[in-house]
Subunit: 411 residues, 2 copies
């Protein structure tokens, strides 16, 4: 079946889902969870094939770790589906409404997008997460996973579709898109059939989708995040947040990648900070001014432009707040940017002037997350300005329509 | 200056505008209005050159009418800028906010997009409208008008920039993009410099921008709008709304283009409707079943697929509500779709099942308009599902950011 044929089936499924009440969708999510739990052995067997092939191909250990499923990870996927059933349904929410002077009533109501395409890399748990989030928000999901996880994804989607069938929901509400690289191009060309594409993965994947898609895209997840230690910063606070934001989970998009230190804080803060980073196993790539305070790897331009997603950090000393703002303006990917300061004026300028999905004062950027924001589910963190910016929960997976009711009014 | 250089200047202007309070922006709008009023003669002279060239090129009378400026039309543009100054500023609005259990405070705040590109066709009044709306919402505007209005647009932008200069706002907040067709491609490639592109014009222009742009696009304005007269419709109501939605201003996107009549209403409604349409000067393109009720031009497929934007209408008889829903699903551009019915069940199904920016019951689709919705200003009517759908006012010209404030919290 071609991608276009799959998309046509998805549209028909979406038409039915749009009119499916919450109770039926929640029952479907529970049935999907039941079916996935029942398919544990099949999914693990399929995953073993993917892992073995990845090993033969010389795939890196960290990528294989992301690819590998365990009974615990499957249990997490099952629980994720059950948790979705407990969340409020955004569809049907009245965003606003009013009555015109002529008596015409206007309501703006949340509706599903329709068909959502997700293009993602190795982690097979995304298959269940994204399928569940789409179903809960009334959208049909076209899942384009990576070939490295093909066997795992096939087994997971088979289970999800068995759950849909068991609860009388259209099975084509969740479809995996198989096939070679070219089918991704077909998906990106399916304007009119697919309502939105959400790429999840590295900068290369996201950039390719944004450049080539004729379907509207929501960019997610590239986070070259900065932490600025102001002149007035409390240095204990700064150190605690630096270590948390860098080391608590270095592979995620809201981890800090660059530390900027106000020149007035450098003498007191940097020696201790460099020592603590070294103790935590973090490699420091420092500029010339930083090198005066400890042993560092000399930083090059790419240290400031790229995400490490590892236990590495770029460090630079800046003259003042303006220097920090200019550095962030130049290198930020617009994800999460943090200032540590005791100055109300600095905090205000930083939050006003930094152009990012999230700006933080005296808090770890690790809080910029759908779970931490209390959204219950998250399809990703949008770093674009259209539609949704920052963590995307269920309401961000919907559009709206205006319902206008009159009694014969004309202009 | 290249488009890229203009976009870099626009970004710098946008950075300043993002921090400019409402009072200063409103003073700027008034100064722009003053300057435009003062430039009336220069603008009319420039417009006369455009109109003369269009006449020499054999441009159609209707296009020349849209191109032509008069003292009245200039006064309308001036008043439009003054009206914008009186509207609330969406920037800085707190959309929502909460405090996490750990004391971290989160606020979602409206911020400007940054740099907005508008690509539009002949009407030079869009130049002042779009420039004003962008300024009010804190965005820098890159205006790419059509070459047919080049002299008029240049004179208008010169006046707007004089107003900006007089009020100490960055003049590069409003820039016209001159040059041949190729520069539009450069604008569509300016991802990272331009935050959003809004094409305003015919289906061909919008389609070309959506297909070729790497900058996110908001689609506007193509409206192949249907009016369905249900079995239970009040025929007087149906006729009044039909005539209003078709003839009050046939050239606009919320005018009705196709009439669908329930077979059970055809005998009683169609003879009178066809006669009334003929009296109003409307040419009816009817399907076979419609032809039984009066003289019609036989309808072909394009009568159902395309917008007329003229005193023409396609008419078809359908078996029932399902037939109407299927026809609309096939041909709708997702703008505004109307049912005339006395049946609560039909109204509910129609509003639930039709996938469009606006769905109307017993009211004219001409109400789907920023002015009628009370928005005060409108940049266009979005027919896409991402970001904004339906009439776009000032809040739809903004993004948001999360401001997260803590006192040292870590995960």
């Amino acid at each position: 079946m071609s991608v276009t044929e799959q998309a046509v089936r998805a549209r028909e499924a979406a038409r039915i889902l749009a009119g499916t009440p919450r109770a039926a969708k929640d029952a479907g999510l529970q049935a999907m969870a039941d079916a996935l739990a029942k398919a544990e052995t099949a999914v693990l067997d399929a995953n073993a094939l993917d892992v073995a092939r990845a090993g033969n191909n010389g795939t890196s250990a960290s990528l294989i770790d992301r690819l590998r499923l365990t009974p615990d990870r499957i249990a997490g996927m099952v629980q994720g589906l059950r948790d979705l059933a407990g969340l409020p349904d955004p569809v049907g929410d009245v965003v606003r409404g009013w009555t015109n002077a002529n008596g015409v009533q206007v309501r703006q109501v949340r509706v599903p997008f329709g068909v959502v395409g997700i293009i993602y890399e190795a982690r097979p748990n995304v298959t269940a997460d994204a399928g569940g989030i789409c179903l809960k928000s009334g959208n049909a999901a076209l899942l384009r996973g990576s070939s490295s996880a093909a066997e795992s994804n096939t087994a997971i989607v088979e289970a999800l579709r068995a759950g849909l069938a068991a609860s009388d929901l259209p099975t084509d509400a969740v479809q995996l898109i198989p096939g070679p690289r070219e089918v991704t191009a077909e998906l990106m060309a399916a304007r009119g059939l697919v309502d939105v594409l959400i790429p999840r993965g590295g900068a290369g994947l996201i950039d390719a989708v944004v450049r080539n898609s004729q379907v509207p895209v929501i960019e997610t997840g590239v986070g070259n995040c900065h932490l600025f230690v102001d002149a007035s910063a409390d240095h204990d606070t700064a150190l605690a947040i630096l270590l948390n934001a860098k080391t608590q989970r270095p592979s995620v998009c809201n981890a800090v990648e660059t530390l900027l230190v106000h020149a007035d804080s450098a003498d007191a803060f940097l020696p201790a900070a460099l020592a603590a980073l070294a103790d935590a196993g973090v490699t420091v790539h420092g500029d010339d001014r930083t090198a005066a305070y400890g042993e560092v790897v000399p930083a090059t331009e790419t240290d400031f432009t790229d995400e490490y997603l590892s236990l590495d950090i770029a460090v630079a000393v800046v003259d003042d707040l303006d220097g920090a703002l200019a550095h962030i303006r130049r290198y930020s990917t617009g994800h999460s940017e943090t200032i540590i300061t005791e100055s109300q004026r600095s905090a205000q300028r930083f939050t006003d002037e930094v152009d990012a999905a999230a700006v933080l004062v005296n808090a770890s950027s690790r809080f910029v997350d759908g779970g931490e924001f209390g959204f219950g589910a998250e399809i990703g963190i949008s770093t674009q300005k259209l539609h949704a910016r920052g963590p995307m929960g269920l309401p961000e997976m919907t559009s709206t329509k205006y319902v206008v009711v009159g009694s014969g009014q004309v202009r």
